[in-house]
């Protein structure tokens, strides 16, 4: 449905995107994840025909964004970073205007405005002037604008920015619902958003794709070694550390002293015997209060993939 091939974009001498290729299938929600300035917005602007790529090709629904820009734009709904609102208009007249430039005939327009307002929770605000709305409501109007003409493809640049937690949950479930008959790309730097809504994630950093995978796979692969969070009460204040140090494959970090116990993170190198390790510690008189596995979160993945030093080391 959406395809980018070897897209490179320069702003004067600054390279915003470097040789990006990605593909989104029909009905999929793809999350573009990356720190600020990574090139998410630029990638979206290229797909929406707002900016041309310096090199490479992109297509939406089989139409080239450069050659058949009009056809592409007919099939797109786009929520830019800043919701494009006319502050002096009422929500209804704004959506009506959008319907007109989106080529919706009069009756369909009325119906869609009613339907979309209902879905997004704007029903009672239709008569209000956009300039008087709160940030969250403006964001909703922006979203309403993008889905008004029921486009095949939705491109949403940070759709939940400025919403309160309840609204965020509503909008996320709305986006999930929409994916049944829309193909969606959304960008965000909020990690839980990706895990909750997106099927697949593309992590971009400094204009390059550093990872493409499902959220679950990314988390799984991020784990270099199994890790546990452990709270234990040692019989003797120093001995337990020596015991741990005698295991060459064990590494402890994030040590915290609790009133009568210690909390720390344990990483065991692959191949190190878990049972033996714990057996040894309890034989030294340590009492375990808590042992819980630590799973790598998307945060870890993200940090690992996007922090520049790490990548330079890897290279």
């Amino acid at each position: 449905m959406i395809e980018m091939q070897n897209i490179t974009k320069y702003y004067d001498n600054f390279r915003a995107l470097n040789n990006i290729s990605l593909k989104v299938e029909k009905g999929e929600i793809l999350g573009l994840l990356g720190p600020n300035g990574a090139g998410k917005t630029t990638a979206m602007r290229i797909l929406t025909c707002f900016l041309p790529a310096t090199s490479g090709t992109a297509s939406v629904a089989g139409f080239d964004v450069f050659e058949d820009s009009l056809e592409v734009r007919r099939r797109l709904g786009y929520l830019p970073e800043t919701p494009p609102l006319y502050h002096e208009m009422t929500v209804r007249s704004y959506l009506n205007f959008i319907g007109e430039i989106r080529e919706l005939p009069g009756r369909v327009r009325e119906e869609r405005i009613g339907y979309v307002a209902e879905r997004i929770g704007l029903g009672e605000s239709l008569g209000r002037v956009i300039g008087t709305l709160s940030k969250g409501y403006r964001q909703r109007v922006g979203l309403a604008q993008a889905m008004l003409h029921n486009p095949e493809v939705l491109i949403l640049d940070e759709p939940t920015v400025g919403l309160d937690p309840n609204q965020i949950i509503e909008i996320r479930s709305l986006i999930k619902d929409l994916s049944r008959d829309h193909t969606i790309i959304l960008s965000t730097h909020i990690l839980p958003e990706v895990s909750m809504t997106c099927g697949r994630v593309v992590i971009i950093s400094e204009g390059e794709i550093v990872a493409v995978d499902s959220v679950a796979n990314l988390e799984k692969n991020a784990q270099a070694a199994p890790a546990w969070k452990i709270i234990l009460k040692p019989a003797n204040d120093q001995k337990w550390r020596e015991a741990i140090d005698s295991f060459s494959g064990a590494r402890i970090s994030e040590i915290r002293e609790l009133p009568d116990a210690y909390e720390f993170k344990l990483e065991l190198a692959r191949g190190e015997n878990f049972d033996e390790f714990f057996g040894c510690l309890s034989s030294k008189g340590a009492v375990f209060r808590e042992i819980s596995p630590v799973r790598a979160t998307l945060e870890d993945v993200f940090l690992r993939l996007t922090s520049t030093e790490d990548r330079k080391e890897a290279a």
């Binding site: 900016l51 009009l70 797109l76 830019p80 800043t82 208009m89 007109e100 430039i101 604008q145």
Partner: protein, 236 residues
């Protein structure tokens, strides 16, 4: 029609903001005052001096009407909405031009009370120059708005847009002076570009097709350039 959607939206925002009302009020006050003063001093039933002054005041006022047309869209990022919608730069520019032109026409129509007053009270009243004068004023308006609209596509700063169009209009207004400065082909050429020289012929009751075509072409050139600038925003 998408052109009319744009036009309707622009007209709405003209009347939502105080700009339209302020321009209307100050223009009508000045023109009313001029009509009265000129009539009282000359006692001649002619509109020529008033129309001449009206054109000059409109030259000052029209940049205020045109400055926000595209600049505002750039500033508030709504241009991103327009350029990613299935709407062409032609439709955007045409819609915006028409909206402003309609506003201008309303402004002109509101001054028709003065020829009506003259027609009612004066003994010998010549309709010809009034008609041609008003035609000139309408054509001149198209020229003002086109150049102003072009200036507005250049920047997201409304003040700069207003200043550029004001400077451009004044320049085209006084180009005629070159005719006396250099009495050669160059001076002639500049003189032919003068909005003032062309307009003053309408005031004298002459409708020269060359002058009509000049104003139409002048407007089209600026609108075309405005379209190209809008398109080129994508490439920059």
């Amino acid at each position: 029609m998408k052109i009319f959607a744009i036009m309707k939206k622009e007209l709405q925002s003209f009347f939502f903001s105080p700009i339209a009302y302020i321009v209307f009020a100050s223009f009508l006050t000045i023109v009313g005052y001029l009509f009265w003063v000129i009539l009282m001093t000359s006692k001649i039933a002619t509109l020529e001096p008033m129309l001449y002054n009206a054109a000059f005041i409109l030259m000052l006022a029209s940049p205020v009407l045109t400055m926000r047309l595209v600049s505002e869209e750039k500033k508030s990022k709504t241009i991103e909405l327009l350029l990613t919608s299935p709407i062409s730069p032609f439709e955007i520019i045409a819609g915006k031009f028409l909206a402003c032109f309609v506003l201008y026409l309303v402004l002109i129509i509101l001054t028709l009370q003065y020829p009506l007053i003259l027609a009612y009270y004066s003994q010998d009243f010549d309709v010809g120059p009034i008609f041609s004068g008003y035609l000139g004023l309408v054509l001149l308006g198209a020229a003002y708005i086109s150049l102003g609209l072009f200036a507005s596509t250049l920047t997201e700063n409304q003040i700069i847009a207003a200043m550029v169009s004001f400077g451009g209009l004044v320049l085209f207004w006084i180009f005629g002076w070159a005719k006396h400065a250099f009495e050669n082909d160059f001076g002639e050429l500049l003189g032919n570009m003068s909005l003032f020289d062309r307009y003053s012929e309408f005031l004298r009751g002459i409708i020269d097709s060359g002058n009509v075509i000049f104003f139409v072409v002048f407007s089209m050139v600026w609108l075309f350039l405005a379209m190209r600038v809008l398109e080129s925003d994508r490439w920059r």
